[in-house]
């Protein structure tokens, strides 16, 4: 058992459960009782986990990440991608992601990378836009092109 992690996890869920039960007070009838009971149950289970971690005699260290640097970089790039999908358009943002993510993680074969990005995105375009005709966020340059 990782005492510190479990204590924090238990406390977070206790807080979450109590907050849910508190909010459920304002809902009328059984529509409020049911989530209130669930909120209290969540708080109790969270409390049990926190209490157990305090009473545990052994502290088995359990790292949250095997490679924190890579995890951080991947999360930042993924967040940036989600943020850019709407303003840039799906295909532009995705091509950027395909090129940036591997480089950030240490991949240094530019030809392989560009080829992979182009082939994969072409495949995505064929499947989702041409065959399935799924509406995706429009490209920023297509709007500029139309305005021009």
């Amino acid at each position: 058992m990782e005492k510190r992690q479990d204590l924090l996890t238990g406390l977070i869920f206790t807080g979450l459960g109590l907050a849910a039960a508190w909010m459920a007070r304002s809902y009328s009838g059984a529509g409020g009782t049911y989530p209130m009971v669930l909120g209290l149950a969540l708080a109790i289970f969270g409390g049990v986990i926190a209490l157990r971690s305090v009473r545990a005699k052994v502290n088995a260290v359990r790292p949250l990440s095997e490679a924190p640097r890579n995890l951080f970089l991947a999360t930042v790039v993924a967040t940036g991608y989600i943020a850019l999908v709407m303003p840039l358009g799906f295909f532009t943002a995705s091509v950027l992601l395909m090129l940036v993510m591997p480089v950030v993680l240490g991949f240094r074969q530019p030809v392989y990378l560009v080829l992979m990005a182009l082939v994969f995105m072409a495949l995505v375009w064929v499947v989702f836009s041409a065959v399935l005709e799924k509406p995706l966020p429009p490209e920023f340059w297509s709007t500029l092109w139309r305005e021009a």
Binding site: Y34, L42, I49, L64, L71, A74, M101, P102, L105, G106
Partner: protein, 495 residues
């Protein structure tokens, strides 16, 4: 049983047949790539099935599930890297066989064993599912409530290593399931004034985030920059000796029974079935010392066991509405996408669809024999030459397109990211994800049932326990929660 004729006719159409073939191929590919798993693949696939016929969508789920369980054996045998958790036991004898130069033979044994396990499991589903569904005719709201509770309690307790954390996860799922407009009173709950939350968080969006993002982040952490060399993936074609296949029959029979038994049990997965089957084969063998050193019977037992779990895990899902594992939960989600209500009534209201899915589970198991030959396997093995780091953005792109097309809402992309990051942390602190999803699926059914039961009894809560069937289910649920805790306490006292 008449509905099976209609179901088979419906399945033998161009759409479902093409979907089964393509998805089984894709499933083997996914299984062959360490880091990818069937749950992630099906979660990514589900949003794209909105516009498809339900039987085509389910054919794809069946193909990916069965195909990937065999695909996991490819890296397990060639590289001692299990492609899926269920193929860990395959490495024990598969890799030593590959080291001896018998990789092709090990793959052939794995292919046959996977197909036979899958076929046995599908037959069990086709025979036991309808029988179990008949029991649900005696169910009232109280029984529906307890059956949902029993399903969640058993998955919560059995899925992870910590029963309390499992039950906490199920409670969290139930609580998330209450978000949005209350279907009985019409009042919004936990919507924080956001109109997009009136329908509650989209199940598929949360599912894609929870199940696809954590493996992507783990791939990024591992940072595989090279992939494998072609020398590591060399395969020689070796035919079976005359009568050699017959020698596997007792192992296949034993492992099929074990896999089916484990599959029916909610919460237990293909890896448990594979380990139990492997141990049973070793105990039954005249040469137990050869296990772990390249005995083909070990490969046969592990692969047959993990595939025999597949269709059997759908028995409680399709007949009672309790998904026994995450893939079963995904199948129920696929049904929800197509406007069908998972639960005990599913079988009675949509017999052709449910029967069709059963037939598809059977046919995709047979298809493994077709797409899992040595030539095809040699082709699939080449996918492992791709550096893992290139898969990270590719999967992110697929996640994004899959989630966006559901509602066309940018907010869903953020919900997916948030769910994925939360899923990554929850897994790291040993909180299982499956009970959260099950809670979200079964929560609304449980709430409606308990409130209906109380309305019928004019608020008397004893109604939930006074009927014999509901009392049995209530005690079973209580036992499922209390038993592991008692065991834990007893263990502590002994110390």
């Amino acid at each position: 049983m008449g509905f099976f004729v209609d179901a088979t006719t419906a399945v033998f159409a161009v759409g479902p047949l093409l979907a089964m073939f393509g998805a089984t191929l894709l499933g083997v590919l996914i299984g062959a790539l360490p880091g990818l798993n069937p749950v992630m693949a099906i979660a990514l696939l589900l949003p794209l099935t909105y516009s498809m016929e339900p039987l085509v969508a389910l054919a794809m789920v069946a193909g990916i599930y069965n195909g990937s369980m065999y695909g996991g054996a490819i890296p397990a045998i060639l590289l001692r890297i299990p492609g899926t958790p269920a193929s860990i036991a395959t490495t024990f004898d598969g890799f030593p066989m590959a080291e001896r130069g018998e990789a092709a033979k090990a793959l052939k044994v794995a292919c046959w064993s996977s197909a036979i396990g899958g076929i046995a499991s599908a037959v069990a589903l086709m025979t036991m599912g309808p029988l179990l569904a008949r029991v649900t005719l005696f169910f009232g709201p109280a029984e529906y409530f307890w059956i949902a509770m029993f399903g969640m309690a058993s998955v919560g307790v059995m899925v992870g290593s910590d029963a309390v954390k499992g039950i906490l996860a199920a409670t969290l799922g139930l609580l998330i399931g209450t978000m949005g407009i209350d279907s009985l009173s019409g009042q919004p709950r936990f919507t924080f004034g956001q109109t997009w939350l009136l329908g509650g968080p989209d199940l598929i969006v949360v599912l894609v985030g929870l199940y696809a993002l954590p493996p992507v982040l783990q791939l990024a952490e591992k940072c595989d920059l090279r992939g494998l060399s072609s020398a590591q993936l060399r395969l020689e074609s070796v035919p079976f000796a005359k009568g050699e296949l017959r020698g596997f029959v007792p192992t296949w029979l034993r492992s099929s029974f074990i896999g089916i038994g484990v599959g029916i049990l909610p919460g237990a997965g293909g890896n448990i079935a594979a380990f139990l089957s492997y141990n049973a084969a070793r105990n039954a063998s005249d040469e137990p010392e050869t296990f772990g050193k390249g005995n083909p019977q070990g490969v046969a037992a592990a692969e047959c066991g993990n595939n025999a779990d597949n269709a059997a895990s759908m028995i409680p899902a399709l007949s009672l509405g309790i998904p026994g594992n995450v893939v079963a939960a995904l199948v129920l989600s696929a049904l929800t996408i197509h406007g069908l209500q998972p639960g005990p009534q599913l079988f009675h209201q949509n017999p052709v669809l449910v029967g069709g899915f059963m037939v598809e589970m059977l046919l995709t198991s047979v298809l493994i024999l077709l797409v899992g030959g040595v030539t095809a396997t040699r082709m699939f093995a080449q996918i492992q030459r791709l550096p893992g780091v290139l898969l990270v953005p590719s999967i992110l792109v697929l996640m994004c397109v899959g989630v966006y097309v559901i509602n066309g809402r940018p907010i869903d992309l953020w919900v997916m990211l948030l769910a994925g990051l939360a899923g990554y942390v929850l897994e790291k602190v040993n909180i299982p994800l499956a009970p959260i999803i099950l809670g979200m699926i079964l929560g609304p059914m449980a709430e409606q049932s308990v409130r209906r039961a109380l309305l019928i009894s004019r608020g008397d809560p004893t109604e939930l326990l006074t009927r014999p069937l509901s009392a049995v289910l209530a005690f079973a649920t209580l036992g499922m929660i209390v038993w592991p805790m008692l065991k834990l306490l007893r263990g502590k006292r002994k110390l």
